[in-house]
Symmetry: D2
Subunit: 317 residues, 4 copies
């Protein structure tokens, strides 16, 4: 990529045609810029850290499979990053084959393991005796049919738009087991000042528990509950040094500039040996966060004024 | 008291010889000043509010009888006051009578009801058939024996020093049921700026629960627990408008200028419809508060610096 | 009382005319039986323990003054008792004097200290310079005016019905500061099997905290909160051996035969070094306890059946 | 497998040489029986449900990668199963190639994606420009080198014992990034009565939260914390119907026949709309669970006896 302007480049898990590309297509600023297809999330984030890209689009959660471990672990270990946007892409699959193939003739299916898992019931019903060959991406699975005409696989699971890129026959559509399946993507840049709150924001963090003490997770959750902060995602990931040590990947409703969120983060920081702040950013669904009066910004400001008055010896009331 | 200088006057529950006077004798600043004996805690506090006294000494808790309701309720309803010191007085009683009286001849005992309750087992053992006449103070009980020579009472329960003031015979000493009984007094002034923390401080507050909702008390206590603030006293007092509505009188270990205490007070203020701050003051026993590292002042300062950096977009770590 | 049948005798704080007598008058079973007036709660309970009375009526809480310490402490220290009923008596006071006395002439008021406290604002407004002589009961205060015609007191605070018993003039009615003031009484018998639940029940217990550890009260309250049991009363009382050690007097909504209450009591028993069960009894106000489905009896029974099936190796579902 | 006796057959993720086979080799009862290699965890569990195998060995957690999603989801959706044993296998990898290959010549590595992730740092250091081809198992990766001599891959990541089965050269040993990496396996049978507790037991469950209400996870954790039950694993898995709905996979210290565990399970069952009990079984590491006196079996039995006595009206104490 010698001539690309890093301020004009966006990295994403390629090749063209992946769901990640569909997510990137939702970003107005990325229109007309250079899109750099990479092979995995680590490469995408390294492009950002190294300054080769202004931002990277990466999958972070799937409604069927859960959090994307590779993304979560990469965000936990690579410093200097910030999530600046969230995007949702409906997940939908087709079964494709070389031109002329009949469904009944399919014996071996090439598919990325996550896609394969999401079509498991359909395959069991329609191809009960099939075999599976794993692929590195959904698009690669489809491409391999043409690249390796003598290969063992005679069909592949791919995104619906695949036929725009490859000369393949669609044997079946909507083969995903869950028609509402959706994948959540985040756009990640280098560390930048926090954007203003919009009222419909999400904040992502990763936190380690102080030790293996009973009740540590409970105590961590209380940091949020006592400030009226709702968690929309909480996943444990092994820290990796030994069984039984976890970090937690957390999404919470609200923005670091919301008083209740800032206070919860302060409490969490004091409690946890390691907190990684991944960013506050507008929610993909634009749903505004409902905050009860008790946790409103003005209540925090009033309380601080009250405390200041007490210390100064001003009369109460 | 027309000529007394209010800056030189201390109010206390009299008359001379009471335990309250013994508490006032522990105050170095009060030595050589005017001591104004009053009849009840309300009068003492009104002297302070009206500027007739610089401070008032009042009993706030007894190790046997518990919190002094009249004091707690007065502090909850009279604004503009601050506790500035705490004093402990061992509670010890003698049985006194007119000169020449024999113990076996005692039929009716005059005593303040709290003192009477604290000597109940001794009286049951030694004067199983005695009657009781209530008195307005321990010293008044003793004085009444001489003031009313034909009165029904032929003995009184009084503090040990009573014979210095009155010509009475001591029939028995140490008649309190609990040899370790102690009464806790506080010195109360008008609202003043908070004194600096000494490391061995106590903070007194009164807080109402937001409503009769289940779990409100639990939630209030969590404001302290999640900041590592220990409570040395918690008592409920009816607000008085209807059965089942309470305010809570709370003493906690630490000073309003301790970060963890300030943070707990902020949380409490946001939660409770009414919080009365009575003051942060040195503990009578001078025992320093042990604070685990997690709740130390520096941890709060570091967390705020961290949050500020996140918002500004500074690199972590 | 040599000839009284203990199964026919009820003890109460006398003399005739007290609020306690008014409470006893609400008990259908006590109609036409012997009513034994005693001088204090200890005597009343000892009548029950010794078998001299079938039950005793005692005041346990006042909407203005709070829990009655003497009653709470007596119930905590005398074993073998059960609360079997709850009664509410509106608290209302009149000011009485010897026939011919004018209100303006009143200088000294005789009154039980609790009654005196409840009329404090009225007295301040109408008799700003009065003195106070404490009495052992409201009725005794009134009676003393006639017993001691030359006594210092020239008026007394008494219950409204006092003129039925004594030839006194009523100088003012409704002098209580709170028109909704009410006192709660309980009828106490020896330990008996628990009566069936009525759906509108209350359970009274006294529990000590396991130690002075921070958070012990919080943990005790969680025993109730995690079973959906609401507390209508919680009061701390010093255990009495040293400052800072408390027991808690608790009233909770529900009956020991309600599954959620039984489960909470089991949790409390395992947690607390000492739990005293005072009884489950119908509420005075007959308000039924609302229980969310989650805490209904059938949910507890189903869960136990499920657990039994798991252990036996039965298929789930 | 027409002639195999199902009581003599164990299913496992094959082929021979996998870590799963190493786990099965730790089961004394499996020695000398038929071992049936299958392709994935679903097949293994279906063998058990259908009665073709007496038990299946499946991987459930990896110290580096975390819970095995496929296993967790299969256990959540297939009824009629019980975990009856736990086994740990150290995870260690070698890089193998066709005979005569030099490390410097390796361009493309075939590897199962989990194994590949665990050797990522070694590969980056030693083969910075390599490509990756995913395989369905570690052993299959190695076998493919010989099966497809003209294939793109010229090396594979495999378990150390691979050379016993295949004629391959070992280019490097101990290439895993974490020398302490270990995989946890469980042996799963059809539902059977619970075995007796050994004192060193683990219990596995899967529970759904009652709804998306804030604090539901906190409340679930309190079911364990209030009974002194420690969690050694908690992982969220999407239920799969919509983003934001989770079930939790939980391992706890103790046995369903331990009173504290049984009580926590009852609490959980009452709280959660769906609880799946996967079994209580001896821990692989045989470490006994430390239980504070407060949560010991005898404390639960005593509390029940106490409650029974209260209801019957027996005297306390």
């Amino acid at each position: 990529m010698p001539h690309a302007n890093p301020h004009e480049t966006y990295s994403y898990l390629g090749p063209a045609g992946t769901f990640t590309e569909a997510a990137l297509a939702q970003v107005p600023d990325a229109a007309g810029k250079t899109w750099h297809a990479v092979n995995n999330v680590g490469e995408a984030l390294e492009d950002v850290v190294a300054g080769r890209s202004v931002a990277a689009m990466i999958a972070i959660e799937n409604s069927v499979e859960g959090g994307v471990s590779a993304t979560q672990d990469a965000l936990a270990s690579i410093p200097g990053l910030r999530i600046i946007g969230e995007y949702l892409v409906p997940v939908n699959f087709v079964l494709v084959a070389r031109p002329g193939t009949m469904l009944a003739a399919v014996k071996v299916v090439n598919a990325h393991s996550v896609a394969y898992a999401q079509c498991h019931r359909w395959l069991e019903r329609n191809l009960p005796t099939h075999g599976h060959i794993p692929a590195s991406s959904n698009v690669a699975a489809a491409a391999s049919l043409l690249d390796d005409p003598a290969g063992a696989a005679d069909a592949a699971i791919a995104p619906p738009g695949i036929t725009a890129h490859h000369d393949l026959d669609v044997l079946a559509t909507d083969i995903g087991d869950n028609p509402n399946a959706v994948t959540r993507f985040v756009l990640v840049s280098r560390t930048v000042p926090t954007p203003p709150a919009t009222g419909a924001d999400k904040t992502s963090i990763i936190a380690e528990l102080p030790s293996d003490q009973p009740g540590a997770l409970l105590e961590m959750l209380e940091q949020f509950a006592t400030r009226g902060v709702n968690l929309s995602l909480i996943e444990s990931r092994p820290i990796g040094d030994t069984l039984g040590r976890y970090r937690f990947v957390i999404d919470l409703d609200g923005h670091i500039l919301d008083e209740r969120v800032a206070d919860a983060l302060l409490g969490l920081k004091r409690f946890s040996p390691k907190v990684i702040f991944l960013g506050s950013y507008p929610r993909a669904d634009r749903v505004r966060t409902e905050v009860t009066h008790r946790y409103g910004n003005e209540v925090f400001v009033e309380a601080r004024d009250w405390l200041r008055g007490l210390i100064a010896g001003e009369p109460e009331g």
